[in-house]
């Protein structure tokens, strides 16, 4: 009982997680310096941190970071705009929604990134193609979740809105979208994840630019600490994007 009460303290779990992380970092540092882990496989964390610092001087890290971040955000924004519209259209025209829902669901599991060679030939080897590939992967969860969210809106809310003579536009913006907001934001978070995966993946595969390209370049040079440092920056893009998505959702929830 006392143990249970102790474990329930709100600060204990996050502190334990942080302590575990610090312990792992220290263990890796010690193991690396003791020769237990080859620096070729996993350099000590201090070397990775120094390599991260070095990257800023030796490589266009800032530009690569901003390229990946901007591509991801623009692909996500385009996915949001078109995905929510498409999801609403599927809801508005129920027969089309029922007809296409299974297909859109099937596209969700399809490896669309494999179309990248064809897109490179069709649209050229440029940032637009990378963003387009990201958009194609990111729009699908937004469509699915928007459609799902709108279908889950209680009928009584729509009937009450109609009884107050609210027009279609009013019903959409004052009833449907606010009620479907949790599902829509889940779709937007999934969209960001899939956009990031496809964009960074494409940067890595095509050696075009961005953080994905930088990861491959460091590996090709056998600069392993810098490679791990670049991977950490990729994680930073994901964390920033998720944090931004949570902030935006809270902003909409407060209104």
């Amino acid at each position: 009982m006392r143990l249970q009460q102790a474990l329930n303290r709100p600060w204990l779990a996050p502190a334990s997680g942080l302590a575990l992380l610090v312990a792992c970092v220290l263990a890796l540092e010690w193991a690396g310096h003791a020769g237990w882990i080859s620096a070729f496989f996993l350099p000590p964390p201090s070397e990775i941190a120094l390599a991260g610092w070095r990257l800023g001087d030796e490589e266009p890290l800032g530009a690569a970071f901003m390229t990946t971040l901007m591509l991801t955000l623009s692909a996500t924004a385009a996915s949001a705009a078109l995905g929510i519209t498409a999801g609403w259209l599927m809801y508005r025209h129920g027969d089309f929604g029922r007809a296409y829902e299974a297909w859109v669901g099937a596209l969700f599991s399809a490896p669309l990134i494999l179309l990248y060679p064809l897109f490179l030939v069709l649209f050229g080897r440029n940032l637009f193609t990378v963003a387009l590939m990201g958009f194609l992967a990111g729009v699908i969860p937004v469509v699915l979740k928007t459609f799902e969210g709108l279908r889950g809106v209680p009928r009584v809310l729509i009937n009450v809105a109609r009884s107050f003579n609210l027009d279609e536009r009013g019903i959409l913006f004052k009833v449907l979208l606010p009620a479907a907001r949790p599902a829509v934001f889940t779709g937007l978070r999934l969209s960001f994840i899939y956009c990031t995966i496809n964009i960074v993946g494409l940067e890595y595969l095509t050696n075009f630019g961005g953080l994905g390209f930088l990861v491959g370049r460091m590996y090709d040079r056998f600069d392993i600490p810098a490679m791990y440092a670049t991977v950490a920056f990729v994680l930073l893009v994901s964390v920033l994007g998720f944090w931004a998505a949570e902030r935006i959702e809270r902003l909409f929830t407060r209104r």
């Binding site: 007809a99 494999l114 990031t196």
Partner: protein, 246 residues
């Protein structure tokens, strides 16, 4: 024919017609959009070619083993996180950091650790599948109704009975959803790893066709991959539906 079926048939026809018009129009670089007949012929040739199955088996092996390892460990860890609030609060922030990260950037690390052969592809499939399944399992474990657990305890259910008759049936729907997502990303991760560095597998085959500019063959391989991915997803869903009905 129902209205839904008519809409689907009309859509397929319209897309096919648009494709054929584009292929013959000369608007795009010649050969980039081949006619559907060329793609179907290429697909028939691929499926009738014995070496294709070596590539298919290699990819299936990498995906299935990796998915198995990733999802099994994810179910164990996700259950532990869900059933122990302390464990959940401790590990959840780190799962949230790594879950949305593009796993392809770990490929160089995996190639260093597991080599450039199937090992790195299996590892890529495993880490790709792990995160969607662990998140879904964690959510599923937290949502097991406590009243069911208490009723089971009141009937003096053993740990195994509790696991098999209470936790597993309650957690199965979200776990299956997570596994469907996990399988999709495992397939993507494996194919991307094969594209980057491999000498076997469907990803390697696709990039070989691209580099040789055998575009109908590339489309054929992609269509086969898409079909397999969709079928695998549907199989998991059907297997789960049968389990729910018991």
């Amino acid at each position: 024919m129902s209205r839904t079926a008519r809409i689907r048939l009309l859509t397929i026809t319209a897309v096919w017609l648009a494709w054929e018009v584009l292929a013959r129009s000369g608007l795009v670089f010649k050969g980039v959009v081949p006619s559907s007949l060329q793609v179907i012929a290429a697909m028939a040739e691929q499926l009738g070619h014995a070496p294709f199955y070596d590539h298919l088996l290699r990819t299936c092996y990498e995906v299935l083993i990796g998915f198995g390892i990733g999802s099994a460990s994810a179910v164990v860890i996700g259950t532990a996180m869900g059933l122990s609030p302390f464990c959940g609060r401790m590990l959840h922030p780190y799962v949230n950091i790594f879950a949305p990260a593009p796993k392809i950037v770990f490929l160089p690390v995996l190639m260093i650790l597991f080599g450039v052969d199937a090992g790195s592809k299996v590892a890529m499939a495993a880490i790709s599948a792990f995160f969607p399944v662990v998140v879904a399992t964690f959510d599923g474990a937290r949502e097991v109704p406590l009243v069911l657990v208490r009723v089971a305890h009141s009937f003096r259910a053993s740990t195994a009975q509790l696991a098999l008759k209470v936790y597993l049936p309650s957690m199965l729907p979200p776990i299956v959803t997570g596994m469907r997502l996990g399988l999709g990303v495992a397939i993507i991760g494996t194919l991307l790893a094969e594209i980057k560095l491999s000498n076997k597998g469907l990803g390697f085959l696709a990039i070989q066709h691209y580099e040789g500019f055998h575009i109908p063959d590339l489309y054929a391989v992609l269509l086969i991959i898409f079909s397999l991915a969709v079928m695998a997803n549907a199989l998991i869903g059907r297997a789960a539906t049968r389990f729910y009905r018991r």
